[in-house]
Structures are given as structure tokens and as C-alpha cells.
């Protein structure tokens, strides 16, 4: 497998007084060209793992390799640079800047990289067109529907052509039909052979969109499924 992300025995402990084990030795590989779903109940460690894989948190122990970069050995500054260039984010609440138009919001990652504004806006406009919201390009977030805001958020995540994309609960606030449409969009627009996509969700309605489904519980990966192939059970995990 051509792995974009590799985790080896990743442990994350929070708290100074009473330590809280958020991750208890996670082993994981995410290949390029696949849409992986990270699922599990609340408190299972999904978000912590996502943050570590996205270079937002350091693991307490273990090794994390993303796109060939050994994150656990990188400085905070190097992680910031990696996030700016190689990682795209789709947040659960979109987190669009209310003072910027859809087009300007979508251009933000390029502006962070120092790309000239005109060029960044041009690229953002192209993506918004691809995502079907070109007509709302000059609207502000409060003038957009939830679905439109999400498309803008997806455009923002893709505008700088990241090789690893993380989506946090993209369908949490949507009804079943909208959720499916969003996942179809993600599969159609985001998934590329040179890109790995990780979607954190607890929405079982979208599980059939995942090319790989990683189940977490109590800080551990308890099961991993590749629906197109045979079920692959991790040793010792419940089926």
C-alpha cells in the first residue's frame, strides 16, 4: 500500500494531575487515493487522532508519518508550514470568516501562503465554479445556506491543492439527503490518486461512502474495514 499516513503505537495523554489517556497505542495506515472514515462514539479519541494527524497536536509517544514527514520529530514552526502547504481542513462548523465573501474565504489558504490576492481569488473562483456555487461567489457567509457554506468550506480546503485532507463531521448538521449529496461531492471532487482523505464522523448513514472505515473505541483502533474487499479484522478486536 502506498501510505500517505502511518501511525505506530501513538499514545496521547492529557492533563497534569489525573492523566487522561485519549489514545492508547494507535497503529494505522491511510493510503493515497482513498476516502477513509474514522468512526466511533464520542470520547473514543477520533478528534485527538485527527488533530495529531493534521499536525495540530504532538503525540505523547509513538511515531506519526504524514506525506513522508515525521511529525513527532518536527518543530512547531515546521508543522505550521506543513499545514499551510500540504493539509486541507473542512471544519464541522465551516468557520468561514463572516467579513469575507465566499470567494475571499475560499482564497484564504493561498493568501496564508503569500500568493498574490488576484491570483488567489482567481483560483478560488475556479473551484467555486467546479463546486457549483459560482453564482454565490460574492455573497457573505450569512447570505449562504448551510449547504452552500459547506461547499465554500470545501473549496477553501482544496484551493491550495493539499495532499492530505481532513474533514471533521461534514454531515453532522445536515439531513440524510443533504449528507449524501455532500459525501458524493467529497468523493467526486476531493478524492484524487495523489491525495489522502480522512473524514471523522459518527454518522452511520454515510459509511457506505468510505473506501476504508476505521472504528475507534476507548482510544484504540478496534476494527478496520475495506468495504470493497473482504472485511479485515484487527487482531483481538470485536467483530
Amino acid at each position: 500500500m502506498n501510505a500517505a499516513v502511518i501511525c505506530r503505537k501513538v499514545v496521547k495523554v492529557f492533563g497534569g494531575g489525573e492523566p487522561v489517556y485519549a489514545l492508547r497505542g494507535v497503529d494505522l495506515q491511510l493510503p493515497f487515493g482513498e476516502l477513509s472514515l474514522l468512526v466511533g462514539p464520542s470520547g473514543s479519541g477520533k478528534t485527538t487522532l485527527l488533530c495529531i494527524l493534521a499536525g495540530l497536536l504532538y503525540p505523547t509517544s509513538g511515531e506519526v508519518e504524514v506525506l513522508g514527514h515525521r511529525l513527532h520529530e518536527m518543530s512547531a514552526r515546521e508543522l505550521v508550514r506543513l499545514r499551510a502547504r500540504e493539509i486541507g481542513f473542512v471544519f464541522q462548523q465551516y468557520n468561514l470568516l463572516p467579513a469575507l465573501t465566499a470567494q475571499e474565504n475560499a482564497a484564504v489558504p493561498l493568501l496564508i501562503q503569500g500568493v498574490p490576492r488576484r491570483q488567489a481569488l482567481q483560483r478560488a473562483a475556479e473551484l467555486l465554479e467546479e463546486l457549483g456555487v459560482a453564482d454565490r461567489m460574492h455573497a457573505y457567509p450569512h447570505q449562504l445556506s448551510g449547504g452552500q457554506q459547506q461547499r465554500v468550506a470545501i473549496a477553501r480546503a482544496l484551493v491550495h491543492q493539499p495532499r492530505f485532507l481532513v474533514c471533521d463531521e461534514p454531515t453532522a448538521a445536515l439531513d440524510a439527503e443533504s449528507g449524501r449529496r455532500t459525501m458524493e461531492l467529497i468523493r467526486r471532487v476531493i478524492v484524487r490518486p495523489d491525495r489522502a482523505v480522512l473524514v471523522v464522523t459518527h454518522d452511520s448513514r454515510i459509511f457506505d461512502f468510505g473506501q476504508r472505515i476505521i472504528y475507534m473505541n476507548d482510544g484504540m483502533v478496534v476494527r478496520e474495514e475495506v468495504p470493497s474487499q473482504q472485511k479485515h479484522l484487527i487482531a483481538g478486536a470485536p467483530s
Binding site: F89, L97, A99, L100
Partner: protein, 378 residues
Amino acid sequence: MIWIAFQMLTGDRAKYFGILVGISFATLLIAQQSSIFCGLMLTASSQIYDAKDAPIWVMDPGMQFVDDIKPLSENELLRVRGVSGVAWAARFYKGLGRARFSDGKFQQMMILGLDDAYMVGAPREIVVGSLDDLRQPDAVIMDERGYRYLWPGEPYILGRTFEMNDRRAVLVGICKASRTFQTFPIIYTRFSQALRFAPQERKALSFILAAPKPGLDAKELCERITKQTRLKALTREEFAWVTIWYYIRRTGIPINFGTTVLLGFFVGTAIAGQTFYLFTIENLRQFGALKAMGLTNLRLIGMVLFQGIFVGTVGYGLGIGLAVGFGLLAERSDRLTFFMPWQVLVGTAVAVLLIVVLSSIFSLRKVLVLEPAQVFRA
């Protein structure tokens, strides 16, 4: 990113105007009160600057400010004239007298007596009449403000008479003079005439006005006069500052104005700081998202500081504009003093800069300690 910072700042109109109002109000209060204070201090020393042809003032060593008169004897004048480097030394009388008008009305007047021969210390501009008219018997020249006070709404009429110390005074001219601290009408007359108008004292010479010979520095001559005569000799600027410092030290004026200026500073900081803080708190998720997407703390600091400096500059401009508007209104009024030197502008700018930097730092704390991972938590 500066562009994004600008959009974020001006996008929330209510907060943007809230911060602007805070900074403009602080600027207005600081600049306006400081200018009124400067105006008052200028008033306190105005008579010194009005005698523009007198570069050196010689006085009793015990004198503390321009109205603290300790008269000198005629001998002192001769001693000053004997100091090498003195081009000329002239008598100058300054005192108060009571005028009685034909309708029985009394009015306290400030009498300035100019040396009969040199006429040094004359008013800076004669509006009606001429300085030479002072050589006529009983002649006085009155300042415009005093004339308008005594004969409100009446045209300038020369030849009006009144009594001072049972002596007849004849108005031969109207002049411009700076406002004084006591606000009494000012009359200029010859030194010999002033002594008749004023209550008799053994010594009557209030000041000796002097000038150095060409090529000699006024400050150096002052040192010579002080050394040789043991009198206090000061340049015009020195004497003005001695007077100003007396008022600053011995009156509550600076404390009163200083309190208002400080209040303006604190109120401005509180309003701007709180609004800026709220603005940041409300955008915290967005700042977190920007950090997650790879925006460094350094660039975030730059963004917030830019917002502060931008809003500070606009607020400063508005506040100074309002203060200058007040100054223009004050200029039309005889009751208000207003003087805005460049130091007030710079001082206010420094205060505003401090306000925006404090406000920014107050807000930045939250942004800098914000973990970008927080945006993934509900």
C-alpha cells in the same frame, strides 16, 4: 493577510464604530484639555511675549513669576546700563489701578508703563491711533478686549476720558494684546504717566527691559547682568517658562486638567479595549481556523496590530479634527483659551498609540494561547 485583517475589522460595522468612538473620544478629550491647559499657560506668560522688542527681563531676585512684582529702585537701572554688552536698558511698569468712569462705574485695570524715551514693551499691534500718540498728556492706549468689555457693542471712539487715581486718562488708541490671566482691561501709557495713575510707592520700577549689543548672546548677557548686579536677568523665553512653571507648581490647574486627560486616556482604553476584546472573542473560532490552516502567531500579531493601528489612526484623525473644531469655536470666544502646539499633537498620538497597543495586547493574549486543535472540539 493585512487585507483580511482590514476586512475583518471593518466587516463588523457596529464593533468597528464602537472602537472608533472610543479612540476618537479619548483623542478629543486628551487633545482638547491639553490645548486648553496650554492656552491657559500661554495666557499666564502672554505679557512677556507681547513685549516682543525686549529680549531680556531684569527683576528682583525674589520674583517668582510675571505678576509677582517686587519693585526696583532707579539705581538698579543705572547699574544694568553699566554692564558691558548692554545695548539699552529701559524702565517698565506693571501694576493694577482702578479706573472711574463718568457714569460712576469702577473697573480694575492693568497698567503697563513704557519707558518715556525708549517706548520698549509697546503693544504688538495698534488697531486705532498710533504709538506716538502716547506722548500726549494723560494718554493711554487700551486693548481691544478691554474696550469691548467696557463699551460693549460701541464703535472704537478715541478721546474718551476716565479717571485713575484722581488723574485724567485720555484714550488715544486701541491695540491688540494677548489675553491675561486676570482678564482685566490693559492700558498702555508712558512710565512717568503710569506712576501718576498707580498708587504711590517708594520704588516703582517693576522690570528693566534690556537688549544685548549686536553679536552678543542674550543668555550670556543675562549671566553678566546677574553676576554684576545680583538682580535676576532672564531671556524672554526663560522668564515665560519660569512663569509657566510657577503656575504648574503652585496652582491646581495642571492637576485638574491632568485628571481629565487621564480620564480620557482610561475611558478610551476601556471602551476601545473592551470592544476590541469582544471583537476578538467573537472571532476566536475563525482565528483558530486560520491558525489550523497554517497562519503563524507572528502574522496573527501583525494582523491584530494592524487593526489596532488602523483604527487608532482613523480615531486620532477624527478626535483631533473635533478638537481643532472646538479650538476654532474658542477663537471666536473671549472666554475660552485654546492653544494646540505640535507637542499636544505628538503627545496625544503617543497616548492613542498606547491605547491601541494595550487594547491589542489585551485581545492578542486570547488569540496567541489559542490551541488550533480547539476548532475541532465542539
